[in-house]
């Protein structure tokens, strides 16, 4: 009688399955520790000393953020520049900024942003991606969205829009009024500004960089 092959033996596959599953799980846990350390929020001292963090401190709202091509990494990265006014101040303390971000992040969940928009590319596809919304030229000084609200700064324009979205339709598909208060709107804008400073490995590509591609823009 020919010898039974190991390849058709249940025990061999059972042990292999146990090994592969166990080892992959251990690797994932190890990777999780490594990644968790890398994506923990930075501190205000990091920002002042120019230490690059993948997720900067909430006080990043005191600084100008741009999205620039990094030739060594081969894609765009958020660059934290000089001080910049945010709702009339550039001296938000660590506690104040953290509180504002907390309010904004809570607001983003309470208002269910993610079931129309995408955040970091995740969510629903019914409305624009918000990952780098803070850097969208349309909200900038010459942008159509800023002039639409009649405000003079990006943050005030965004806050105004969030409080009365259906007054400022940008498309047949409108954002509904979600009862966002002035405080909540300020928090949400801080949340958006902070999110735009997260190093997303170059996503989205070419954000806000393309002019003249379609309709002569």
């Amino acid at each position: 009688m020919a010898k039974r092959s190991v390849w058709s033996d249940n025990r061999f596959w059972q042990r292999s399955a146990a090994w592969v599953t166990g080892f992959a799980s251990i690797l994932l846990i190890w990777l999780t520790f490594d990644t968790s350390a890398q994506i923990s929020m930075g501190t205000d001292a990091d920002l002042q000393n120019g230490v690059t963090k993948r997720v900067p401190a909430p006080t990043v709202i005191n600084y100008k953020i741009t999205y620039e091509m990094d030739t060594t990494r081969g894609h765009e990265v958020p660059v934290i520049g000089e001080k910049e006014m945010f709702f009339g101040r550039d001296d938000w303390s660590e506690e104040e900024a953290a509180e504002l971000l907390h309010l904004g992040k809570l607001g983003s969940q309470a208002k269910n942003c993610m079931n129309c928009h995408t955040l970091l590319g995740n969510g629903a596809y019914y409305a624009p991606d918000l990952t780098k919304a803070w850097l969208d030229p349309a909200w900038g000084p010459e942008g159509s969205l800023q002039s639409m609200t009649g405000k003079n700064t990006k943050e005030e324009a965004m806050a105004e829009f969030l409080q009365h979205p259906s007054q400022y339709p940008t498309h047949a598909r409108m954002m509904p009024d979600l009862g966002i208060t002035a405080d909540e709107a300020q928090g949400l804008v801080a949340f958006l500004k902070h999110m735009s400073s997260i190093d997303t490995n170059g996503f989205p590509r070419n954000f806000g960089k393309i002019k003249g591609a379609v309709h002569g823009k």
Binding site: R11, F12, R15, S16, W19, V20, L27, D34, Q38, R54
Partner: protein
Amino acid sequence: MFEPFVDVVPSFFGWLNQGPLTLTIFLHTVIILPMFWIYKQEKARIEREG
């Protein structure tokens, strides 16, 4: 083949990720290799059981 290390934060896994496929080939090898040992053990068992 080997590219300069440009990760924002250096780490063990980042260091293994030296060029195309290096990290994943390493991890797959580590996962597959012990299966040879399991194979040998099971082969011996089947022979013992006749």
